[in-house]
Amino acid sequence: MVKRFLSRAYIGIILLFLYAPILILIVLSFNASKSRAKWGGFTLHWYQQLFRNEDIMSALYTTLIIAFTSALIATILGTAAAIAINSMKKTPRLIMLGITNIPMLNADIVTGISLMLVFVAVNYTLGFTSVLLSHITFNIPYVILSVMPKLKQLNPHTFEAAQDLGASPLYAFYKVILPDIFPGVLSGFFLSFTMSLDDFVITYFTKGPEVNTLSTKIYTEVRKGIKPEIYALSTLMFLTVLLLLIFINRRNAGKNAPIRKL
């Protein structure tokens, strides 16, 4: 009984630790005072201002486009790669998995710098595309690591059975393999999307001067003070995801975990 109470209390403290800053940001989005340090009364002003602020809206647009496109391309390349790696012999498989681990284990600052050096070396102007290519690069490993466990669980004979029954390899893949590994593919996509959305360091080194994502825009404002519209936007994004997850969780209650491995 005491043990149970202690466990609950411990979880509570950790959750408070993790979510306290988020609560503060939500409160700040309703703060009538422009200053972060004092409370000037409740207002919805920043939420109205937000949609008129072209700078922020274009940063949001860039962020979402890059997150979606990079997650999509990484999911396609990563899933194909995972299937191929899974069917490789031991040595090439270990080499490929070792390379896949590099972007995940290496420091962001080194990954960002190294990608920047490549773009500069081939005289490629830093901008939207260089950020997109960089995001795809650090997203692919998340997809591969999400899909691999699902491939390992596959029954090796269903694919052959489908082909014996006359299905073309592509059709058999689409009908037999894809449905089985789909949860892994989906969690790879969402993990990639989240990572891309939250990335600052790699974007910072690979972007050109005229491109801004929300992260880099916020960073330029750290010293002079964050615009309250940013708090409003973050609150909206956070609550959207929260509601979406609650909805999905309700619907899937009891079903298997969509996200298993980071």
Partner: protein
Amino acid sequence: MNIKNTLTHAAEKKPDSGVQFSRVNKVKWLSFPYILWSAGFILIPLVLVLYYGLTDNNNSFTLSNIALITDPINLKALLLALELSIVSTVICLILAYPLAMIMNNSKMQSNSFTVLIIILPMWMNFLLRTIAWQNILEKTGILNTVLKFFHLPTLNIINTPAAIILGMVYNFLPFMVLPIYNVLIKIDKDVIAAARDLGANGTQTFLKIILPLSLPGVISGITMVFVPSLTTFVISTILGGSKIVLIGNVIEQQFRLGNWHTGSGLSLVLMIFILISMALISKYDKESEGGNLW
């Protein structure tokens, strides 16, 4: 009897995944885009860092960029970064292990739900969450207001190394919790039951069964927290004020000023530390797999 070896052995005996697509050798072609991609965007970039780090402006070979790490300012930044990242990794481990165990033991709705609670904060921008800690830690911030209310002495930790450690623990705690949790949920409940049947008490079961089996998760958690903490420049910028300089800040500044050779040279030093920690960790991991548990 070595339980862990038996378990890994059993795991390896599962149908080998390599055969399932053997009929379609074409499947190997699927890896071509990724092989090209990883060559172009993972391997060549690292070679370029190596090249820039070992050359000067005239493209001739030099070790002077790397030698710059012995410059007192840079050395101090590196040592401070090492100190802070080691402290925050240890704190993360101490906080995360019990949390992962509680998550594993409690009958929460589903695995995904517990995991989501831990990664959900990532949907609020990482920079903003760190900035929010300024609000909490400032002289007249929330923490001190609460402390004053209870007539407790106030804390002044903003713009000190303590604030940076807090920022590191806050940002990277999920990367310690999730790998440990992922290993714990895979531990066979029968193994634990068997230990209890054979007379082991709770502490013995933990020390002899759970802890050794969870070691791979602990180890990957340590790397996932140590490396980003060692190399951060954002957390120190936001929570450390302008006076505290970590090695990440030095490298970022060199690149901002256009000194790519110097920046790359210092990155190489950083990569040495990353590689050493990974090598130590993987060696330790292998030793524990070979060693006897009983």
